[in-house]
Symmetry: D4
Subunit: 252 residues, 8 copies
Amino acid sequence: MDPQDIQAILKKVWDRKMTAAVALEKLRHLPFEEIPYARVDSHRHLRCGFPEVIFCQGKEPADITAIARSILKRSDYLLATRADRTAFEAIRKASRRAVHHERARCVTVRKKAPPRQSGKILVVCAGTADVPVAEEARITAEMMGHEVDGLYDVGVAGIHRLLAAKDRISAADVIVVVAGMEGALASVVGGLTRSPVVAVPTSIGYGANLGGIAPLLTMLNSCAAGVSVVNIDNGFGAGYAAALMARLKNPA
Amino acid sequence: MDPQDIQAILKKVWDRKMTAAVALEKLRHLPFEEIPYARVDSHRHLRCGFPEVIFCQGKEPADITAIARSILKRSDYLLATRADRTAFEAIRKASRRAVHHERARCVTVRKKAPPRQSGKILVVCAGTADVPVAEEARITAEMMGHEVDGLYDVGVAGIHRLLAAKDRISAADVIVVVAGMEGALASVVGGLTRSPVVAVPTSIGYGANLGGIAPLLTMLNSCAAGVSVVNIDNGFGAGYAAALMARLKNPA
Amino acid sequence: MDPQDIQAILKKVWDRKMTAAVALEKLRHLPFEEIPYARVDSHRHLRCGFPEVIFCQGKEPADITAIARSILKRSDYLLATRADRTAFEAIRKASRRAVHHERARCVTVRKKAPPRQSGKILVVCAGTADVPVAEEARITAEMMGHEVDGLYDVGVAGIHRLLAAKDRISAADVIVVVAGMEGALASVVGGLTRSPVVAVPTSIGYGANLGGIAPLLTMLNSCAAGVSVVNIDNGFGAGYAAALMARLKNPA
Amino acid sequence: MDPQDIQAILKKVWDRKMTAAVALEKLRHLPFEEIPYARVDSHRHLRCGFPEVIFCQGKEPADITAIARSILKRSDYLLATRADRTAFEAIRKASRRAVHHERARCVTVRKKAPPRQSGKILVVCAGTADVPVAEEARITAEMMGHEVDGLYDVGVAGIHRLLAAKDRISAADVIVVVAGMEGALASVVGGLTRSPVVAVPTSIGYGANLGGIAPLLTMLNSCAAGVSVVNIDNGFGAGYAAALMARLKNPA
Amino acid sequence: MDPQDIQAILKKVWDRKMTAAVALEKLRHLPFEEIPYARVDSHRHLRCGFPEVIFCQGKEPADITAIARSILKRSDYLLATRADRTAFEAIRKASRRAVHHERARCVTVRKKAPPRQSGKILVVCAGTADVPVAEEARITAEMMGHEVDGLYDVGVAGIHRLLAAKDRISAADVIVVVAGMEGALASVVGGLTRSPVVAVPTSIGYGANLGGIAPLLTMLNSCAAGVSVVNIDNGFGAGYAAALMARLKNPA
Amino acid sequence: MDPQDIQAILKKVWDRKMTAAVALEKLRHLPFEEIPYARVDSHRHLRCGFPEVIFCQGKEPADITAIARSILKRSDYLLATRADRTAFEAIRKASRRAVHHERARCVTVRKKAPPRQSGKILVVCAGTADVPVAEEARITAEMMGHEVDGLYDVGVAGIHRLLAAKDRISAADVIVVVAGMEGALASVVGGLTRSPVVAVPTSIGYGANLGGIAPLLTMLNSCAAGVSVVNIDNGFGAGYAAALMARLKNPA
Amino acid sequence: MDPQDIQAILKKVWDRKMTAAVALEKLRHLPFEEIPYARVDSHRHLRCGFPEVIFCQGKEPADITAIARSILKRSDYLLATRADRTAFEAIRKASRRAVHHERARCVTVRKKAPPRQSGKILVVCAGTADVPVAEEARITAEMMGHEVDGLYDVGVAGIHRLLAAKDRISAADVIVVVAGMEGALASVVGGLTRSPVVAVPTSIGYGANLGGIAPLLTMLNSCAAGVSVVNIDNGFGAGYAAALMARLKNPA
Amino acid sequence: MDPQDIQAILKKVWDRKMTAAVALEKLRHLPFEEIPYARVDSHRHLRCGFPEVIFCQGKEPADITAIARSILKRSDYLLATRADRTAFEAIRKASRRAVHHERARCVTVRKKAPPRQSGKILVVCAGTADVPVAEEARITAEMMGHEVDGLYDVGVAGIHRLLAAKDRISAADVIVVVAGMEGALASVVGGLTRSPVVAVPTSIGYGANLGGIAPLLTMLNSCAAGVSVVNIDNGFGAGYAAALMARLKNPA
């Protein structure tokens, strides 16, 4: 809160242009006044170049259509995650340009190509069953304008498969590692690169995988520095975080 | 329950050498009669060539001395785990031959060298802080007559340290992997070897390591088949299980 | 990293056959160069005599058929786990020799009989409901060439059923114990045998069984040394680990 | 709430001996009126023949002395649990008859011998480290007048030790089973007896024992019917519950 | 197999009305009978005082019929729990006397009335939704020969409903308390009675009930001594344990 | 039964316009009424200020109808929660006035408008998916006579949306905050108001949301004083607690 | 800074008895004051109705003195919680008026008596060991101007003790219930009152109390509506929340 | 070992100012150096861009000195974390340049100033008690060459303190958010910025904070995209990850 603001109020009271009661009320909320609704909103739009995202799971088709329409009125891009066939149909009602990425469970709409960003992202994934989460990360980062490379099915039990791809690992500015089971891949990749690693545990596995808790703990305890973690199965979050990082590559 | 035994009882009743009441009582416990106390005990002694082990933690020094004396009366070997200086002094009262392995927190007594077993065991350990657990495993397996090689501080974040030792990994009949933090080492070693792997999670780490729960889950969910797991920090259990496996190498 | 390798690089630089820039690049990845893709792969094939395994759960039928075909091109054996009727049909497309073991939820293909291994495995199981997991372990170990004996429905609440089979317990080189509910069977069997015990907790039970966490903890805390544990319901993992152990019985 | 009570109130209103406002207030609390303070208290004293118990842990010595004096004013017996040397001294100030059972961490005062009850209780305990909890159960049940037999150090890893005592198991009316580690003993004993079993998990163990959670889950999931469970390390609770059960043996 | 039956056989042999060979045949299956995938513990009635019980959940109808037949060959009573309509039909194939108790999800067969036991059991239950578990306890205890009273829907939020029934509480030799939500009922009942209380947490509730973990912890931590606990939703276990306790009332 | 109704009866008795016998008949079920499998707490309105509420989930339609009838016999209001279409139909059998609030999953019956209470309640909710829980809270508080304002979809990731509504926050006497995901909204609202905040975590989210445990812990650990918490998804409980608080606004 | 004080300043400006410049100096730290390693929220009293509170645990004495001085510069009241002797001495350096409430582990400073509020608060507590948490709640509510009654040691195992105090329960506008062990007290009190109940679980207990998790779950799952919960051992939070509620009693 | 250093060596060989033999000696320890109980990863700087870091907790002083010497032989920088006074003295034996940052519990050695990196990092911290973790992050990022700004004690309960600093938030390329209690700060900051956020939960709090699990879950479930998480109290990991991200700002 700026002393000037308080000074202005006090001056009005001195000048008897504002009563003490009104002034008291103003002082109560003063610290928050400076974040008016509209300014922050446009600021957000400006700064991210990325529209709001629809998390479809548990939403009614009619709601999805309405939200999609509302976004597309103001934006050239739309990303919807956890989108099954029904959600896809709902978004199609808002735009015939809608594309369904079935493995990734995403729907995208692009009225034009997103502006190309400099940073390169590599999505590494441990097993075939982790691919949907990996694809969700890939689609998200691509929607945000990044070039994304995919290195799939390189679990640590056959570590040579991973080591054979060390050039692609070296070429990436940011790496997303997607792994279920015990999630050890994040540590091994983290030890091979100088780039930041975003790790995504998946709920793939059985028994003591505990719905993804096991790889989540593995990744949080990673002995390789430079690894940070997002929520279980949260491919979108990983792709988004990776894109925010990779964007730092852009010339100032 | 052997039909002959029942027949014998029934014959005695028929011959009126046993009353129905006595016969009923005998039939009630018959299934257990065949495991009399002494026979099983000597059987255990014979089959393992390994005396009982003293878990010192939480035991009174006087109790430790008494148990040690009792074991050494019938055995040429003694192994005591979780033994601090006080426990060591207590065992010294039972035998001047007692040796204290401080890092391993073990005390051993050997009246003679244990009979040499064929199988070779390798103990691999992720970080310096895991060494006490690794040493406990090593001492245990050595007391059971096995040759034990140690490969320490080879965490997966610098995986070349592990790969550089692939010959020693190949030479082992059984491998014990000791790791805290996220415990990913077990999966990587499991993917590099043909031998059974006994994994020991340790409570080394902080935050979401949860006292060893994180590496425990990692190891249970290992994507490398052939890995089985013992309790957190249980170096003794791992060394013992590894020795039972390695002993299968002995010529029949 | 071998000094000779570095020396060779340095010599080339001295001889101006390699620029400093190229040498720097080579030195950056040197520690990994020695594990080239093909060699490790053939090594794995050679050493295990066991092809990759298909975990069917969550895989598309078309993917299963493709993976099965790929494996059978290079291998005489195929094992697929968690295979329902649909998965079986998918594998049948790859081979008419495919056999469905319904209780075990496995599919096997054997172009010829697997080479007979020496070590004998016993699978012990606590209750009727644990049988599918036990059968998965049995099929796995048999596919790897071992003779497997099965001792089912011998829970500790009627311990005479277990004690009556002590000869079969004694005859085994490795024992797999499968138990749900409270999982106490592993401790009791572990106390009766000289052989290594691989324990498999199952998710059978209700209430505070917690999907298998209860018997998992029981088995990890077993007061009987020589017991190691695999993941909940992981019959395949237990059978595989047991086979790796039993194989040590083979004459060198 | 008895219709008579309501009738009595209504009659008073009809007779204008009670205003509607007073009657409304009475009706608000009527259901509870019938449990007056003194009656229940004396009833409790009468029915149990057992005074209140002092749980010493975390109580100030002066408070312990005061509570002990208050109890001994009205009672011939005093039981204090979790009592260290300081607590013992505090109780000695209230009575010179105080006896300290150090292993059991209990203090008892008996002005006269407790009336002998019919039911016999057996306390079975898995390992030496569980003895303090077992002794707490024993002392409690003895204070309540029961004959208590103790069968200690009979863990399931050497099951013949337990089977050898089957006569003592058969002779008991109620059995308390105390076990840490994995707690499998409760299931085995439960399968050998027709008497109710009260199981007490202890926090003895390490790693995934989780402070007693592992044996607690084991006992709750026991495959042997007739086993019920009390809190971790709660020897007092087990002894008390066992005594309430055994008391049913008393002739009516 | 009933002890009386064995006694009858033995008496016939003693009286030379039956040869040892015929008796042997009758007794040969005494400890257990192997049927495919099951090993019926026919010794249990002799050892524990009640024939084996069929837990139907997850069992194949054909297996249920086979086990039911095996039990009914040697027993006058059959109890099957977690029995839906299909399980009931399967048991009907073994006996036309089978009765389905739908709320309790139990099937019972009684060839004759069970011998009447002295001890009286009261089943108290907190909410309407807990009734199925309470009924399972009631049926079990009745099958074991006890008189069972039921006091349902007396949760502690309206405690006068419970206090109004204090005579029925006082009349019981053993009390089973069934409660979900927060499970506080066990503590309140435990404080009102002299009799042992067997508490059964149920998975009724939502959110942080955690499938019954919340009332389970409540009951284990009960401030009322004399309360012991069985597994979540385990009405059978509670009824069985209560019957073992109540049986102590029988004249010696 | 409404205190006013009882007062009216008592007044008639005082005025001798109604005999004690007739009044007794009217009041005879005051404490509770037994119907099969339920014991309706009819004294609750007098004691707690609101008639009993039906939690429909898991109840049989016939039971719901019976309980509804029993409540409506003595009360002008009925609230049923977790009510699907079937539950609604069941309540319609008891009263044609029943209204189904589908989003809130509630059914209400009002024979007359509830007496208007002074305190104003604001329900704030983080995301669209939390709305059903928020609506359950709103309906509950409205049934208890309070004016309720709703401020929905104001998650903390776009905090200006919340700050823009600070006047509505200031106007509320009690605030209910409903949030899933990470539940941070409760802390932010708690820091902006001088009114008590009732926080409701919801099970909305994925991965490590753990069915609502994550926001539950967030809310319990809130750094803003004045926040208290109810169970996961427990909109009813929040609305009820908020109404009890807001009622304090009523002139004495 | 007290709203009254600000109002007084504003009135002086209005009355031209104080210049805007002088007033600005007085108000300049209104939003917060930066001191090393802390940023005291001096706006809080205006916004939330009570000055900032110092949570002493883990704070350096010098920091505590500095924060205390900063608060007392603009406030007539100071409350510090989790304050041991050292923290008390640190606050004494800021004010000689500081009083140490040892059981409650609180320090208070009152330059003048707090304005008396209308609402009455009752703190109910289950056992003697819960008293420190109860006292923390009491001191907090008293500092906020409320009359607080205390009803201690009324655990549900002797429920008559609680029922005997029903008049004091009825007299309270808000009730704080403090309980460890299983925490059932909150449900019983919640069922007896029409006032809002704030429940505080404590870490008092052993074994499966799990450091307060058991009573926390009990209270969250309470079958009595109107109960909301604060963090384990959080007496301050309960007292603060209760005071915010009770303040609603004040005439508008 | 710095890539520049290797390049310098190679250049000298190319220029024939250094023989291959001398160069080999210099490079021979490149991948790692074995010292007792440790295997220093000297290749790490080349591979990952920063020399190995010493985690002092639980390491013997002699080991710390040896590892520090080994690192300083080939590196101009040393960072040691979780370093108390003893660890500091141990490092001083290896270098007199060692500096102890007591609040951060770090020791640093800089033979020269680290090369300045472009990216700017902001460390935001919720409470005074979180400062040590925040400082560990700051020191780490500064050692890696970044400019670091600190914004401390801006918890969400007084959100104006955070909003007042929005310019500093906007100026940061990467933001580290450190928070205990409920950890809501990460979500709020994440919603205010375009930059990637690395969240660090701390174990600060009490009761259901669960040693940091509560804020960890909060941060993983953050409704603000772009937030990734490191382990509890892992300030080093956050600073390191943030530096890897910020480094992307460097001109290519």
